[in-house]
């Protein structure tokens, strides 16, 4: 393993050296996303693969102009992510969705994020809402549930492999993040 301390938009590598590039949950944190993808493209071999994942905007900050997470610069819906990749010459092989949520949960997220957005408009602190959620959660969750949440790493169950291949367009809004495998 070789570790290199560098900026993702200034990768200090020669052209066409890597067989695969893995970049998980990085794209949404980068300001110059085009430069980043050009850098990645340059360091990939002709037959190389790019494995990239990014949160689903429909889940993290639906319909909002700016991401709610202060560390995210911009987030993608699946359609805009695929267009972005294709505009840089990548062709997408697989799309996986992770952590599927129910339609009711998605609705709660959408309403919650709109509410947070308006709270921030009126210079109220959006995290007040999170504190509220957490206190409710701690009240209603049993000790058992909290314990099982803490122990989810001790016994990694195969059913935790929640990644599913996204096939139909109607389901694609229901995942918390996407993992895309593409080649040049």
């Amino acid at each position: 393993m070789l570790t290199v301390c560098a900026d993702a938009t200034h990768l200090p590598f020669r052209k066409q050296v890597f067989d695969s590039v893995v970049s998980l949950e990085t794209l949404e944190h980068i300001r110059d996303q085009r430069v980043f993808l050009d850098n990645v493209k340059n360091s990939l071999k002709k037959s190389g693969k790019l494995i990239l994942s990014t949160p689903n905007k429909m889940y993290t900050s639906p319909f909002l102009p700016k991401p709610l997470n202060p560390y995210h610069v911009s987030e993608f819906y699946l359609g805009s992510l695929l267009n972005f990749l294709m505009a840089h010459g990548f062709s997408v092989d697989y799309v996986y969705g992770g952590r599927r949520v129910g339609r009711l949960e998605l609705l709660r997220r959408i309403l919650g994020s709109l509410l947070k957005f308006f709270l921030s408009k009126f210079s109220l602190k959006p995290y007040l809402l999170d504190d509220f959620y957490h206190s409710i959660y701690n009240l209603i969750s049993t000790r058992q549930l909290r314990r099982s949440e803490r122990q989810c790493l001790i016994d990694p169950d195969p059913s935790l492999f929640i990644h599913e291949e996204v096939k139909s367009r109607s389901n694609m809004v229901l995942y918390q993040y996407f993992l895309v495998c593409a080649h040049l």
Partner: protein, 107 residues
């Protein structure tokens, strides 16, 4: 072929909870196990597609690079991150058998 769950256990650290005295496995640097397991499982999925020389952009403490290195036919993993301390930590913890120093080029 190594079992996927074994790969996860390779990057975890055993920790004994001072209150309950029960041993648990943790991934350093993460506040909740749910977040940690999500990140680990994502690397496991990525490891299905990687081969040869792999570049891991924004690797953090290199736990993911370690998973990628152990899975499949990966020759070498180059981990890139902007945080020098995270990489320093990763070099100590996750690359016991294949330490290699490299120059640093920060902003």
């Amino acid at each position: 072929m190594t079992k996927l769950t074994d790969l996860i256990h390779k990057v975890l650290i055993k920790h004994i909870d001072p209150l309950t005295k029960s041993p648990e496995l943790i991934l350093l640097g993460y506040c909740s196990n749910q977040t940690a397991s999500e990140h680990l499982l994502r690397y496991l999925l990525a490891s299905k597609f990687t081969h040869g020389l792999v570049l891991d952009v924004a690797s953090g403490t290199c736990y993911g690079s370690s998973i990628l290195k152990r899975a499949g036919d990966v020759k070498m993993v180059v981990s890139v991150d902007i945080d020098r301390d995270a990489l320093r930590y990763g070099r100590i913890v996750y690359s016991v058998d294949c330490v290699c120093r490299c120059y640093a080029s920060t902003l």
